[in-house]
């Protein structure tokens, strides 16, 4: 006796359809899973057996073989528990195979028969939808996430519910479907930053133009505090973007319970001891790295120069193309990684440089090594570079400054303006730019960066064209000489 269910295995963010075949035959009672299951998938045997027993269903005391097809695709994780259990129930004629038609399933079984949520439900649901299936069995907690794909979920708390549903004896309770995007909340506010007008301005420009930003300066000047406030002034994610971000976070198992959709631009801050695969993604069944988790948001590298050079170089591809592709035997996994890079660095290894109250004790060799770490190619990715000096005491005592909400309104308006019509340089601004290239150490790439930023300055100001004053401000955020002369 044979029965089939459909589930989905993930390669990267890609859902590949997997047919779960359960076959019962006479012989010594046994249970085998074939079709390249990994360890977690292999252990489904124990969970499925106990789960079926706990649901007061019958475990077929015969020879049972479960095949996961296509056999050459590696099957990872515990999401196969539920489809295997359903296939077994159908093969042993406890539910009809017809009732399973049009359904996909994904979920982990507890020994007492409860259904537990798994990672990557959104991607799996999208795969099912694409395949023309209309309903998806999943854990009740995963139902809102599955519904985002436009498929009708069958939210389950327990395996017994699945059996009753398939026999037409029970209908799932309706769940809270997400009609509109909830507003992001809990993001740190710019109002907390006293003084530092120039750095705040750089942050606003970065948000309005999607520019990468490097904050340099001695420790304790609020560089990290400023960077953490960038997501709060970015435009909220569109539904499309929110889905992209959610898909990645779901696969990584990072969705907070009860919040199926990520609506705030993500902020990821990997530590500098993180490995290159942890940052760009990797593993045998490729998993998204920090760069992909920061998709449509901010990747924050605190102490940029402390990161190993290979890690930084690995970031150049996503910075260029907005995607990370990882080649594996099963094929290529492509993760989107269109993030905004924000980094901080001290001006020297000891951190005292640029601080009038301290004396730098770094040797020239150490200084040179510190700067060599940041290749020209990487520094070239930062459109905006601002040196954050130590604020004076009276600055810190100043009144709270503008709140993120007000800044965000300007950012959103500027982005719309740029989308409609990108401001062009006036003749006078062009002349100033040429003069700057002549007089300052400004490379061809540096020139292009200044031009880009000046368009953002003009858009923020609501100007029709890029005037000299916009260009001059863009110039003031160029790579400073002490870094350029490395």
């Amino acid at each position: 006796m044979l029965a089939r269910t459909i589930t989905h295995a993930l390669v990267g963010l890609d859902a590949r359809s997997v047919e779960v075949e359960a076959h019962l035959e006479d012989g010594v009672p046994a249970f085998a899973i074939v079709g390249l299951p990994d360890r977690a998938c292999q252990e489904a045997k124990q969970r499925v057996r106990s789960g079926i027993a706990s649901a007061e269903l019958m475990w077929p005391g015969r020879r049972l073989t479960v095949n996961l097809a296509p056999a050459e695709l590696r099957k990872e994780g515990s999401g196969f528990d539920l489809p295997i259990a359903l296939a077994v129930l159908a093969a042993s004629r406890q539910v009809t195979e017809e009732s399973l038609r049009g359904h996909a399933a994904v979920g982990e079984l507890a020994l007492d028969g409860r259904i537990r949520p798994v990672t990557g439900v959104l991607a799996a649901a999208e795969g099912a939808k694409e395949q023309g299936l209309s309903r998806l069995f999943c854990a009740a907690a995963s139902a809102p996430e599955a519904a985002l794909a436009g498929i009708e979920p069958v939210p389950l708390h327990h395996l017994a519910e699945a059996a009753s549903y398939l026999r037409g004896e029970w209908h799932p309770e309706p769940f809270d479907e997400l009609d509109e995007l909830p507003a992001p909340e809990g993001l740190p506010d710019l109002a907390d930053v006293r003084g530092q007008e120039r750095a705040r301005r750089a942050l606003e420009l970065a948000a309005a133009g999607g520019h990468n930003l490097l904050l340099a300066g001695p420790p304790g000047t609020g560089k990290t505090m400023l960077a953490r406030r960038l997501p709060g002034i970015l435009p909220p994610l569109t539904r499309e973007e929110a889905l992209e971000v959610t898909r990645i976070h779901s696969v990584a198992g990072l969705l907070p319970p009860g919040r199926p959709l990520v609506t705030a631009p993500p902020f990821r801050a990997p530590h500098h001891t993180a490995s290159a695969p942890a940052i760009v993604g990797g593993g045998s069944g490729p998993r998204p790295g920090e760069a992909s988790l920061a998709h449509r948001g901010v990747l924050f590298l605190d102490e940029l120069a402390e990161f190993p050079r290979p890690t930084l170089e690995a970031l150049r591809q996503p910075l260029e193309d907005g995607v990370i592709s990882i080649a594996r035997v099963e094929g290529k996994a492509v993760f989107p990684a269109r993030f905004q890079l924000v980094a901080t660095m001290n001006l020297c290894p000891c951190g005292a440089k640029g601080d009038p109250a301290a004396e730098c004790s770094c040797s020239t060799q150490r200084l040179a090594a510190y700067r060599d770490k940041l290749s020209r190619a990487l520094l070239d990715r930062f459109d905006l570079l601002v040196t954050v000096p130590r604020p004076r005491a009276l600055e810190l005592a100043a009144a709270p400054s503008e709140a993120s909400e007000l800044v965000r309104e300007r950012v959103v308006a500027a982005r719309e303006r740029v989308r409609e019509r990108r401001p062009h340089r006036t003749g006078a601004a062009d002349e100033l730019l040429s003069r700057a290239v002549e007089r300052l150490p400004l490379s061809a790439r540096g020139r292009a960066r200044v031009a880009r930023v000046s368009a953002t300055v003009a858009a923020l100001a609501g100007a029709e064209a890029v005037e000299p004053e916009h260009l001059a401000e863009a110039l003031s955020f160029r790579t400073p000489n002490e870094l350029a002369a490395a």
């Binding site: 640029g354 004396e359 040797s363 020239t364 000096p389 401000e473 003031s476 400073p480 002490e482």
Partner: protein, 294 residues
Amino acid sequence: MSAAAVESIGAVRKLRRRELPELLRQIHDPPPTLFLRGGADVEVLWRPAVAIVGARACSTYGAQVARMLGRELAASGLVVVSGLARGVDGEAHRGALDAGGVTVAVLGCGIDRDYPAAHTELARRICERGLVVSEYEPGVEPAPWRFPARNRIIAGLTAATVIVEARERSGALITADFALEDGREVFAVPGEITSMLSTGTNRLLRQGATPLTSTEDVLELFGLSPGQRPPAPTLSIVAAKLIERLADGAVSADELARATELEPGPLAVGLAELELAGLVAEAEGRYRVVMPPG
């Protein structure tokens, strides 16, 4: 000097003791030979020259002063002599090159050794119009005990030595001692009394060195007037206001904005104007005057 005074062995040119420039022959212990590398005629060693030396780990201020001095002195026709070290030395050479002037680097190792390695490109540029010289045979490795001896040649080639930033026991002070022994003029750039980097120069001043307050102080010694210095640019009202404020010391852009109550746009225009005119430079988040206007 005539080309006959120059002996060629392969590509290496050298001067024997009796062929050395007058000033260098006068010192207590002139080198037996001076090896030369570079495109310039040896004649440049006879031209009026000034040495600019100082700390390797100099401050931004020191680097900017060294560069400005190198640029302005070279523009007035003086040959700028220094030691190709990091920090002040390198900046002085660069300043002279900026002005399209002639500069001479004196090494403490063979002239074919690029030391420090980071200055390989700088040495190549110096060789285009100037010279790299050394008393050591080509191939001699750099060694710390050779550098003080090298300093006597730096002092010996020049009529005046300018010290830009030196710690209490800096090699630049050895150059100053040589210059004083040989009866040459010594200038010291005054620094903040609280800065470690100024202890050496300020002690020199206390002992009677001439304080260097502007390029003219050096030019006067040579009977020169400020040469091809560009005429003082006419500044906009905003720029004039900014430079007046900056004359009191380096400040951050935020502090400038508060002090002048300018909007970011006009402030940026003013600062860009001053930067492009070469009057003001930004370093470590603070703007400072690098060349007084007019």
